[in-house]
Amino acid sequence: MKKLINSPDSVIADALRGMAAAHPALSVDHDTRVISRAGGAAQGKVGLVSGGGSGHEPLHGGYVGPGMLDAAVPGEIYTSPVPDQILAATKAADGGAGVLHIVKNYTGDVLNFRMAAELAEDEDIRVSAVVMNDDTAVEDSTFTAGRRGTGATVVAEKIAGAAAAQGADLDAVTRLVTEVNDRSRSFGIALHAGTVPAAGTPGFELGPDEVELGVGIHGEPGRERGSMAPVRDLVAYALEAINADRPVGGDVLVLLNGQGGTPLIELYGAYAEAVDWLEGHGATVTRNLVGNYITSLDQAGFSITVTALDDELVRLWDAPVETPALRWGR
C-alpha cells in the first residue's frame, strides 16, 4: 500500500508541522506533541483536553478552538499518548477553573490519562475525567475491557466546549459529558481494512463479500464478520444494534461518520437510509454531521452515532464553534 508519507517514523511529526502551518489559531508543541489554542487557556474557563492515538483525524487536533477543546494530545498511530504529553496539554488548557479529560475507553487511554491526572493533581490542577464508552458493538461486562469510546466523543467535545465557553464549572461540564455518553450509542462497519504506515499492508483481511460488523476505530475487530449487503441493510444492522442497546425515540442527533476511505457521496446515501430507518422507528433527526469526523486512516466503512437530544444539548450543539473541523455560529 502506497502512503503519502516521508517515512512511517515521521508521519506524526510531519502532520503536526502541517497543522501548525495551516491553522494560525492553533499552537503546536512539536517536541511534546500537544495541540492547543494559540491564545492560550481562557482564564476562569474550564479547560478541555482530549486525545488518543493518531490516525483518527480530524479527531482530536481538528477540534481545538473556541467552543470546543483547549488542547489535544496525539499519540503514535493508534497508540495512546503518554502521561507527560497529557500533563503538558492539561497545563496548556488550565485556566484556573479545573480541567476535564475526555477519555475514550481503551485500556491504554484510560491508564495514561489517569497517570497524567495524578501528575496534574500533584501540581494543584484539579482534573476531572469522563470515560466515553458509546460503542454498542462490544458487550459491556466484567468479561471484557468494556465498551469502546467512539463517535460520541466528537459530540461530547462539542457539548463540553460550548458549556465551558458559557461559563459552566467543572462539575457541570463533567455532568454534561457524562450525559452525552449515556445518551449516545454507536456502531461501525468496515468494508475494507486500512493500512497503518508502519505495517505497509492492511490490518486485517476482508473477503470480497465480507464486512466487519462492529469494527473499532483502530481497525480492531468487533462483533463478527458479516456479509456484504446494500447500504440500507448495513445501516439497518447498525441501527438495530444501537436500538437494541438503547431504544431510539424523540429528537436525536446523528453522526454519519466516514472511516476515511469511503467517499462523501456514499456517506450521504448512508445518511439517507439512517434518517429513513430512524423516522420509521419513532425518532426525529434534528441535528447531524455527515462526513469524516473520527476516522481510521484509510479504512473504508462508516459508523453511526445516535445521541438522544434534549433542549439543553441542542442549545449547546448549536452554540458557536471555531475549529479546523467544525465551524458554525456567530
Binding site: G53, G75, E76, I77, Y78, T79, S80, P81, V82, P83, D84, Y106, T107, G108, L111, N112, M115, A137, V138, E139, T142, F143, T144, A145, R148, V196, A198, A199, G203, F204, G216, H218, G219, E220, P221, G222, R223, E224
Partner: protein, 213 residues
C-alpha cells in the same frame, strides 16, 4: 551471582535488542487481535530505556529498573506502557538502594512487578494478558530460588515458565485489553503482551547465564 547495576543494564538492553529483533512477530500478534502497535510500542519504550541509561547512568540495579520503568511510561504509549512501566518501577523500588541484589531480592522485585501490573490493569490469570506469562514466571523464579538455584538458573526457570504461559494463552478468551472486544474470536491466538513478557524474561535468563559463564 547477584543482580548488579551492570547486569540490570544488560538485561534491559538485551530485552530491547530481542524485542526489536522480534518486533514483526509482536506486531503480527497484535494485528490479529488488536490494533497492531504492540511491536512498535515495545521497541520504542525499551529503546528509550536504554537511551536513558547512557544519558544518566543509574547507580544501582534498583535505579536501573526505576529508570527503565519511567522511560517505558514516558515513551511507550498504549496499554503496555503504563503496565510495564509501573511494573518495572515497582520492581526497582523493591530493590532499594543496594548495589547488588541477591536472587531472593530479585524474586521480591519480580513479585512487586507482577503485583503492580495486576493492581493497575486489574487482570487476573486466565484473562489472556501479559499476566498469564508473568505470573507463572514469577512463581517459577521464586520456587527456583527457594530450591537454592542461582540467579541464572532461576531466570531460566522463569523464562521457561513464561513461554509455557504464553502458549497457554492460545485457547483463552480475552477478558481484558483490546482483544476482549473480539470475545470468542480471540481464542486461538497468542496474547501479544504475553509474548513480549516472554522476550523480556528470556533476556534476563540470557544475560544472567552468560554472565555467570
Amino acid at each position: 551471582m547477584n543482580l548488579d547495576t551492570r547486569t540490570a543494564v544488560a538485561w534491559i538492553t538485551r530485552a530491547a535488542d530481542d524485542v526489536r529483533a522480534d518486533e514483526a512477530r509482536l506486531t503480527s500478534l497484535d494485528a490479529a487481535v488488536g490494533d497492531g502497535d504492540h511491536g512498535a510500542n515495545m521497541t520504542r519504550g525499551l529503546a528509550a530505556a536504554t537511551a536513558s541509561f547512557a544519558e544518566k547512568p543509574p547507580a544501582t540495579p534498583g535505579a536501573v529498573l526505576v529508570a527503565a520503568g519511567r522511560s517505558l511510561v514516558a515513551k511507550t504509549g498504549g496499554a503496555s506502557g503504563p503496565l510495564y512501566g509501573t511494573g518495572l518501577r515497582k520492581a526497582g523500588k523493591a530493590l532499594g538502594e543496594a548495589e547488588q541484589a541477591e536472587p531472593a531480592a530479585v524474586a521480591e522485585a519480580l513479585q512487586a512487578m507482577l503485583d503492580g501490573i495486576r493492581e493497575l490493569g486489574e487482570a487476573a490469570e486466565g484473562d489472556k494478558t501479559m499476566i498469564d506469562a508473568l505470573a507463572p514466571a514469577v512463581a517459577a523464579f521464586r520456587d527456583a530460588v527457594d530450591d537454592g538455584a542461582d540467579l541464572g538458573a532461576a531466570a531460566r526457570a522463569a523464562a521457561d515458565a513464561a513461554e509455557e504461559g504464553l502458549a497457554a494463552t492460545v485457547p483463552l478468551q480475552a477478558r481484558k485489553g483490546r482483544a476482549s472486544y473480539l470475545g470468542a474470536r480471540s481464542v486461538g491466538h497468542e496474547d501479544p503482551g504475553a509474548a513480549s513478557t516472554t522476550l523480556v524474561l528470556r533476556a534476563l535468563a540470557e544475560v544472567t547465564t552468560e554472565d555467570a559463564a
